[in-house]
């Protein structure tokens, strides 16, 4: 995610909500854009599928599982009881309780074809091999 390229258009939020809910509803998007300083800075942010995975660690029912291939932490909704422990534990605020479903929502990388990436007009959000991104990670999961 490259804030310098983000214009705050919110097409990522529109696409994410559509992919997961079938309607255009940024309020239900798993990716959010934060604007600062009268629009000088716009920062798209979502779950980075972090190695620490505090959400997974605190979940009392084991509802959060790792997808080995994608490296994504996924919520198994059938096991989620909506206790919100994960929402409290996540230091980034990227797993959120959904009052309509009674469960939590988070980024699931859309099964390997992130819709936010497709929708982004400037390339501020990109999905690539970690080796190409210049980021070093400790996890074995490769995008």
């Amino acid at each position: 995610m490259e804030p310098d390229k983000c214009t705050g258009c919110l097409q990522c939020e529109i696409a994410c909500s559509f992919e997961h809910e079938g309607v255009f509803n940024p309020a239900r998007s798993r990716i959010r854009v934060f604007e600062f300083q009268h629009g000088r800075l716009a920062v798209p942010y979502t779950c980075t599928q972090c190695e620490a995975a505090w959400c997974q660690k605190v979940c009392p029912t084991g509802a959060i599982v790792l997808d080995d291939q994608l490296g994504a932490k996924l919520v198994r909704t059938e096991a989620c009881v909506g206790c919100k422990a994960c929402a409290i534990a996540c230091p980034y605020g990227t797993i959120e309780y959904n009052p309509l479903s009674g469960k939590v929502d988070k980024c699931d990388l859309c099964g390997g074809d992130p819709q936010c990436v497709t929708a982004c007009p400037t390339g501020a959000i990109a999905y690539m091999e970690t080796s190409l991104s210049g980021t070093t990670v400790n996890t074995t999961a490769e995008a």
Partner: protein, 607 residues
């Protein structure tokens, strides 16, 4: 079907709030936004009502495509009877507020009556209420948004608000949303102020759905690719609308010093290139670009002022970045007042957003004041010691602030140029049509634009028609009536769709039709939409006639009809309105007196 099928009716006199079903027949006949809002206005008020009185109605209207995945899906319109012109006002804005209103579950918000004490309206999905605005009455636009979000502990609230200018009835006060987007023209902010309505804050989590999601996504994706591939549109992303200034200069249609001239020697100090130029100390006016909701073009400018500039050197509160110069703001604070100080122009632009004022009307009003000052009609005694001379940057920045806060001579400037010039006995110096000030295209150089200005339903407005191409190619008035009329009808369609007109460089009627058809129920074809556009135009005209306007108001100032352009491509020319107007009335199906005939009204379902 992307309508929520629900509108909100707020009566400020009784403090009642009601949700009503959206009139689907009207949505079908008038598309949405501008057209739908006009119909609701027509059916809910008497066009003879006093604009600043309780019987005026104020409408916030979204379009069918607002809030969808279509590119530029953030538009909405504010409609009312204008206190500046006495005609219909339909002011379009972007940002995020419009989409949020739709997400909250409302296609349109209709406000009537007048509150006894200042209030603001809070809409959080189905939870809607009026709150006392005592603590924010007198606060700026920027302070108000901050305060409301904190008060309700909701940083996601999108706020459309007025500043002191709107509260105090500045005739061209604006409604500003999302800090630096605005429903800018015709004084819609003053109407809001007259109702004691400070702000409308909305947060929506209902979402918007369409009839055929798969088809809709395919169509809108394809349309986004078209936009991304269009070179002219990419130019907008990179340079913003101010890229037009040097074109207008070279062409010779850049109104300068209250339209006395059509070229400005200092243009290259305030144009798009100047915004990108890097100074010796590394300062650059432009910081970045920004987008409205859903927009993949991102023409918005974010700028900052040089830290040593006289306007902000001792004012820390303005050291931050904010909305930068659009073409119209640059013209109104640059050429038309003879100023070439980009920091002064940018600072004045900040003040316009902070206080909620239309920069076009302010700049042209100031230009008239400068001409009167240079003639010796206005003296420094009245202007609190400031010399209102063309080229005086301090005059611009000090007066912008005084007008925003309604202090001193700002109270005179707040009348708008028509009332101000009448007050001093020089009405011919007011560069307006129907009382609304011109945008930055001189009618002597662009003849068809002049016709559009003269016949525009909201007064001098550059956004309701587009004859640029034919005007550049042919500098006479011949053959301009047809493209003017056709573009007026089509523009009404775009203004009613929920999408932004800046897509029109890449999208033709077919592209709009495809998107609307995939979004809404019923068959939407180019023909049906064009006819709706014509219907909308005629309904606006009917409103104006009922309000008391006549064909005598379809005219231009003497300066443009009698004083030839002194330089440029159109040197020696005056606007040929006499040649174009009769043909225009004929094409419209109106009488020689500019009234829609019974035949025309019947054909359009209006009579």
């Amino acid at each position: 079907m992307s309508w929520q099928r629900q509108i909100l009716r707020v009566n400020l006199t009784d403090s009642t709030i009601r949700a009503e079903p959206l009139n689907m027949q009207w949505a079908s006949d008038y598309i949405g936004e501008r057209g739908l809002g006009t119909k609701y206005l027509w059916e809910n008020m008497d066009p003879k009502a006093e604009p600043l009185g309780p019987d005026n109605v104020l409408i916030f209207a979204t379009g069918p495509l607002t809030g969808t995945s279509a590119s530029t899906s953030g538009r909405y319109a504010v409609l009312t009877k204008s206190p500046l012109t006495g005609a219909i006002a339909c002011s379009n804005s972007g940002g995020k507020f419009g989409a949020e209103l739709k997400y909250a579950g409302y296609d349109l918000l209709l406000v009537e009556g007048r509150a006894e004490e200042p209030v603001y309206l809070r809409i959080e999905d189905g939870d809607v209420s009026l709150h006392p605005a005592k603590k924010i009455w007198g606060k700026t636009v920027w302070e108000t948004e901050e305060w409301i979000r904190q008060e309700h502990n909701n940083p996601m609230l999108k706020v459309a608000t007025i500043g002191i200018a709107g509260e105090r009835g500045v005739r061209y006060a604006a409604v500003v949303n999302d800090l630096h987007r605005a429903a800018g023209r015709s004084g819609v902010g003053a109407v809001m102020g007259s109702k004691n309505l400070k702000a409308v804050a909305a947060r929506g989590t209902c979402g918007v759905s369409v009839d055929d999601p798969k088809r809709f996504m395919e169509v809108t994706s394809r349309m986004k690719d078209m936009l991304a591939g269009d070179r002219g549109t990419r130019g907008l992303t990179k340079y913003g609308t101010n890229a037009m200034m040097d074109t207008m200069q070279e062409f010779g249609g850049l109104p300068t010093r209250n339209f006395k001239e059509v070229q400005f020697e200092g243009y290259d100090k305030v144009d798009a290139r100047a915004m990108l130029a890097i100074g010796a100390d590394g300062h650059r006016n432009l910081v970045t670009n920004t987008a409205c909701f859903g927009c993949t073009i991102a023409c918005g400018r974010i700028s900052h002022i040089h830290k040593d500039h006289f306007t902000i050197v001792n004012r820390k509160e303005y050291w931050h970045a904010s909305g930068g110069l659009e073409y119209e703001t640059a013209y109104a604070f640059g050429p038309v007042v003879g100023i070439d100080d980009i920091d002064a122009c940018t600072f004045a632009g900040y003040l316009m957003n902070e206080h909620g004022i239309d920069p076009i009307s302010f700049g042209v009003t100031l230009a008239a004041a400068m001409e009167l000052f240079e003639m010796g009609v206005i003296s420094t005694e009245e202007t609190d010691g400031i010399e209102l001379k063309f080229g005086n940057a301090q005059a611009l920045t000090v007066m912008a602030e005084k007008t925003g806060k309604q202090e001193g001579f700002g109270e005179v400037l707040g009348l708008g140029s028509r009332r101000m010039c009448e007050k001093y006995g020089y009405p011919e110096l007011s560069m307006t049509v129907k009382g609304q000030e011109f945008a930055g295209y001189d009618s002597r150089a662009l003849q068809g634009m002049g016709l559009g200005y003269a016949t525009g339903n909201r007064g001098a407005c550059h956004l309701k028609h587009d004859t640029f191409e034919v005007d550049m190619e042919d500098q006479t008035g011949s053959g301009k009536a047809e493209p003017c009329k056709a573009s007026q009808d089509w523009q009404a369609v775009v203004d009613s769709s929920g999408l932004c007109m800046f897509t029109m460089g890449a999208w033709g009627p077919e592209e709009f039709a495809e998107q609307l058809d995939a979004d809404s129920e019923g068959d939407w074809t180019v023909d049906r939409m064009t006819e709706s556009g014509e219907r909308i135009w005629n309904l606006e005209r009917m409103f104006n006639m009922a309000a008391g306007l006549t064909s005598a108001d379809d005219t231009l100032p003497q300066r443009l009809l009698k004083d030839p352009a002194p330089s440029g491509t159109a040197k020696g020319r005056v606007n040929e309105l006499d040649l174009m107007l009769p043909e225009y009335y004929r094409l419209r199906g109106w009488t020689d007196d500019g009234q829609p005939t019974t035949e025309t009204l019947k054909r359009l379902g209006l009579g």
